[in-house]
Amino acid sequence: MAVSTKDAPVSLTTLRGSVGRRRKEGVVRAIISSAALLSLLVSLGIVVALIGEAFLFLRDIELSWLWADGWFPRRNPPEFDVLTIFIGTIEVALIAMLIAAPLGLGAAMFLSEYASPRLRRTLKPILEVLAGIPSVVLGFFALTVIHPTIVQDLLGASSAFSILAAGIGVGILTIPLVASVSEDAMYAVPGALREAAYGIGARRRTVTTKVVFPAAVSGIVASLILGFSRAIGETMIVAIAAGATSGALRHIDPLTPGQTMTGAISSLAIGSDQVKSASGFNPFLALYFVGLLLFVITFALNVASERFVRRVRRDY
């Protein structure tokens, strides 16, 4: 075979294609990479905005206001007892996890280990629909159903709001998250591990609890941390059902109204826009400080859970 040498010789330029196509390639790349970089800008914006404004708050207050007998932004002098809303937050999140951890993990185990593919397809949408319910709706449910039935009738509380009702509401909200993350982790455990256990005569319950659960444990821990972080950041349920919008004493009784970090931010946001407190200090500024604390806490929890998830990915 003789190759005709009279045609233009193949060179790098001909292989590279037309200039127009390459230019287009460059333009597209520039556009979409800047879209990706935008997310970094957003994070930076959050950090700068929070730190900047929180600094203004800390500069203007007297530090003794941060340690008082409660959270009363509009008193004179104002009381910004951070411990009060921190306790409230942790309390709500713990109650939520008492609900979401067993129910979420149970549902995940059933879907991953017991349900046939067909049953799985019918049951999984329950969790998806529950995940799609907006949190204001759950807040209304917590206020009008959970509080009157469980907290008032069953436990005999007298107040119209309670930390407990809010916590249960947040727990219901968190179930789908815990279930879906931990189900992913259990579903990813290789079938060979299960078959090896069945091969030496293990029952399904033994396989689930002694083989699949330990193999997926980092993913399960990740789901719980993520759920906890979500519960800490949940706002609307607390704002509606926990009461104590004007302020709260430092206490740990879950049957009475209380205030959380998110609840404090939202009530500062809606009530006090232009109003200064009697002390002449604008309590509105406090929301940036609480926001910064909230951001730091949830950020740390999310990083921790990401670390656990990565461990699952590395193993299988």
Binding site: I126, S135, F140, L226, A269, F299
Partner: protein, 315 residues
Amino acid sequence: MAIVASEASVRSTVEQALRGSKRDLRGRLFEAALLGSLLLSLAVLLALLWSVLQTALPVFAERGFDFVTSNMSRIESRAGVRQALIGSLLLIAFVFVVAVPLGIAAAIYLQEYAKDTKLNRLLIANIRNLAGVPSIVFGILGLVVFVQAFRVVTGPEVYGKSIISGGLTLSVLVIPIVILVSMEALRAVPTSIREAAYGVGATRWEVVRSHVLPYAAPGIFTGVILSLARAFGETAPLLLVGAVTGYLSPGLGGSLLEVLQGQYTALPTIVFSWSRQPGDEWRELTAAAIIVLLVVIMIVNAAAIVLRNRYERKW
């Protein structure tokens, strides 16, 4: 030794040992408990829907569709959700125009273009973290940046508390989620599709545009619609960027820019402020507003499910 078991008794012992005791009671209980936790979630869901429906019934029975077409009012018998519904739909349209293109573009970059460098890994980790940041923190960002810093653009006459501010805040909140679901959908497209296109000399963008994107489109759209549904029900950030909770003047006229720079309210915000009013009438109104909210969300979700079932393909 004289103890020699008969063949029959040995066989029955061995059989029994292999079979295990017939009734594995604990195993059954365990399974029932697992199924129970799933069914309990279902029961809660049903109880929620039932109680809301029951509370809302008087409103719809008395006023019918009038509730949906009335403006906000402080008088119980006249209050309606028209402005809130319009406000919410405008916000979602805004989010759709801003967040969806940006999110999909970023996902294409991260999944198809980006090499495994330190910067890109940082970008992805950062996006994951943003998706986990509480929504109220995004509200604070919106307050500082859109409402205060860019007041001149977002709404000089309403102190920056406009649809633009609300829409941008929700967009920033939704973008990380859109990026993550789109990346997931792009990842599911088999490499062989890309290699076939590269093999006939396509550039990277040509590969993405005419080969990868068409296959990933159903997945991307499903994810995008679900994130829009989430934005529709989001309340906390709107409280900070000033959705009106009390009375809103009925006028929603003027040019598009005037509408976008004007005051607004949204369905979930209405639900929140009404749920804090005392009295049974407001409670019923709140439940009715929730029904409207849930119906819109259900329509959106149903659209996503139809899309997914219609175009889902297995490789």
